[in-house]
Symmetry: C2
Subunit: 269 residues, 2 copies
Amino acid sequence: MNKRQDAIQELAADTQIRSFPLEATSNQTERAVQGVREMILRGELQAGERLTELSLVARLQVSRTPIRSALLRLTEEGLLEPASATGFVVRSFSEDEVFDSIEIRGTLEGLAARRAAERGVSPELQAQMRQCLAQIESLLAESSPGGTHLSRYAALNGRFHALIMAAADSAMLDNTLDKILNLPFASPSAFVEVQSHLPGSLEILRQAQAQHWDILDALLSRSSARAEPLMREHARSARKNLELVLADQTARQQMHGASLIRSTPTQGQ
Amino acid sequence: MNKRQDAIQELAADTQIRSFPLEATSNQTERAVQGVREMILRGELQAGERLTELSLVARLQVSRTPIRSALLRLTEEGLLEPASATGFVVRSFSEDEVFDSIEIRGTLEGLAARRAAERGVSPELQAQMRQCLAQIESLLAESSPGGTHLSRYAALNGRFHALIMAAADSAMLDNTLDKILNLPFASPSAFVEVQSHLPGSLEILRQAQAQHWDILDALLSRSSARAEPLMREHARSARKNLELVLADQTARQQMHGASLIRSTPTQGQ
DNA sequence: GCATCATTGAATGTATACAAATTTGCGTTA
DNA sequence: TAACGCAAATTTGTATACATTCAATGATGC
């Protein structure tokens, strides 16, 4: 499928994962989508704030039509939600919802790992997986605690996860997972880049990398019964990381899209 | 969450599941969405056919703006896909993709069942589940093979599945599953109504109902380790049903959205 | 005769005017 | 003083004109 292939190419080019650059585009709709998304993730638009098309026209220098399309797309992405009868508000997420999205990701990635183990991984993908993990390995070996290689780790980590999706070879699964990964805090590497301040961050990454090797081993030995639970548990460690980040106010505020997460789980809505 | 509650109410009212009535609406966009969806599911628009906004304006008596919104929404629903750089085409699905979507549904429903078992089912939901299964039971007892109660079975079956989602109490999970259920062949009751011609259809429904009781038992005994695999296996029996329907040309053509499914799995695209 | 380029046509992208609807605020009345 | 209702203003829904881009076809030159 095109989208998955693109993702792998993109990751192979060692670019940052899920970056939303405001690069020049001839497309006004794209400009509007990126603009509004940036404003939300930066926290310029408060969670719960109502968005009017005209105010966005003024802020983004784009007419109402592309703004309208952009709001629909961002609603689809999950960053906005329809307000009462008319208009949109910036969505907020309870901590429970964030945890849920990680568990759903783990479940879907677990299904992908099982499928990959069942149908076997092509030699090309095997090689790419091995190379990817080797790169992470050398990164972890050379980097001192609190080093600045975290963004590279995040990219490689995302690449490994994308390779497993590629091995599962299911466009339906890709599309379903993509919807979850759209949320800024649900991706496999969402918290990596803000962990540098936290104690024991390097150890956490080492544990995750050990799980990577176990998963790869399960895939190569065609052990679907191992691959699926290993992948699920791997996602659960992401949840543990998130709990650490959310507990630390400094790290929490540095997190991408932190303003979308409500402090009190059951409040609001 | 509102959406789930609505679904349960709707099902409780014993209406047909996933019906898309062309009822009068003051909303032109809604009219366009329903119109195009109907045309696709009826097979008036061939899979792979390119849709131009102007031709739809002529057919639906609605201006380009709501047509445009409708095409975006239907793309989101998965019935359309973007054509090269511009425009949309009616999407087609390989049989593998249909099977995949059922497996993904089973996986997500399995997660829901596990969550429901872990957190316990409220007395109200327990009562509704029991009542729902009892209604199916009496339906199966009274109906002769090849009876015409299949649409009522489909509604009750859908209701039971919705109740499990409600018991899981996860908006994120709801949203993710909704995307899958949008596909006309992925819902739990997609094939029920066309099975009447097939031999052994009543026996298939009885087996499914037996699984329902097992699942309910697992939920009530808080056995998450039983609930999840039972739910998954329940979805696999839907896959078996689909294989029967697809193999029978008569039943296949009666299926909702049959024109979207390619006969040869790897062809096209 | 084939290839390349230009011109023409049709489709989508964008902007905006107008209509409908919803919300807000003020005033009046109980 | 509080509540209800009406009116005005703001906001979204819809239609359409205009701009731009893409594709196809034909003509011309090699």
